[in-house]
Subunit: 155 residues, 2 copies
DNA sequence: CTTCTTCTTTGCAACAGTTGCTGATCAGCA
DNA sequence: TGCTGATCAGCAACTGTTGCAAAGAAGAAG
């Protein structure tokens, strides 16, 4: 993820206006947890700009995503997650608390054998490891009731 | 996926009642396309039972899923997909038409290296290959407007 | 600094997918 | 055939997200 200053430049270069809302969102993303949902970004931005609307956060996040400055994940945890890490990587998803972390191992050798492709052209390969994170193991929470209140599905 | 008769037995064994709705859903699943959404199952069941409610379809699908007789996928294609194939496998997702197909290759050697785990205990590994299916390549459709009208995200 | 144009932000309605609720109905059993 | 708890239909409600129109602000020009 580029710095707020770089993103500002980038927006300017595209003829987009630099508004305090946008700058605030850039900052939030820069210093945020790994894979925030739109709602999480909203909450963080609201600390310094209580009047911002959720709509604007979605708007800007989508802008960034379509400019390729932000990845978008749907891991079945209820809401889309925005991923500031741009280089190809994979994910560890905790089925109890919903936390997502990155795996930067290279799995380029994971290929679909020719015989199974049936003409399909693969563009990207995404690997999701589901399980239980260290914290949740320690706390021995049971599955009923996730810490983040998601209602996710198994991917 | 078990046969309608086997599922009927299974339900009976659990003390669940055998209703025409359920039987109809069992049949639909048995003879259905690979990865139907709840809506798709609903449409199919409606052919022979026009009065069934979508609510009942969701209910039964969820019952089957929690009995482990049906997998549930969220591939970012808008709606959850139900997967009658129970043995571990992976998926090919067409980014144009949203079609999902199975890859039965064994990827058990795909492991997160110890150093990246940080105590995370992996339960399942799911690999999603995104790209363009043979049909869509042939038809040379452009990305704007998916054939199935989904608004999916990149996983 | 004022004005003008254009892009943005907002707030709300609408949307899709899914679930909760409730009275009416039915399957399974005696 | 009649009981009774399980199930169903139908609709309201809910979550996450987007469309829309009006109001507001950024940036360029004068």
């Amino acid at each position: 993820m580029k710095s707020p200053a770089e993103l500002t430049e980038l927006f300017r270069a595209q003829g987009l206006k630099i508004t305090p809302q946008r700058v605030s969102i850039f900052r939030a993303l820069h210093g945020s947890a790994e894979h925030p949902s739109a709602e999480a970004v909203y909450e963080q931005v609201r600390v310094e700009m209580p009047s911002i609307s959720l709509r604007t956060v979605y708007q800007t996040l989508n802008d960034l995503a379509s400019m390729g400055e932000l990845g978008q994940l749907d891991l079945g945890t209820g809401a889309a997650r925005f991923d500031p890490t741009l280089d190809p990587h994979h994910h560890l998803v905790c089925e109890r608390c919903g936390r997502v972390s990155d795996v930067h191992t290279d799995f380029t050798d994971v290929r679909v054998p020719q015989g199974e492709l049936h003409g399909f052209r693969v563009a990207t390969t995404q690997i999701v490891f589901r399980g239980v994170c260290a914290d949740c193991q320690r706390e021995g929470r049971d599955d009923a009731g996730r810490a983040d209140g998601t209602r996710g599905r198994t991917n």
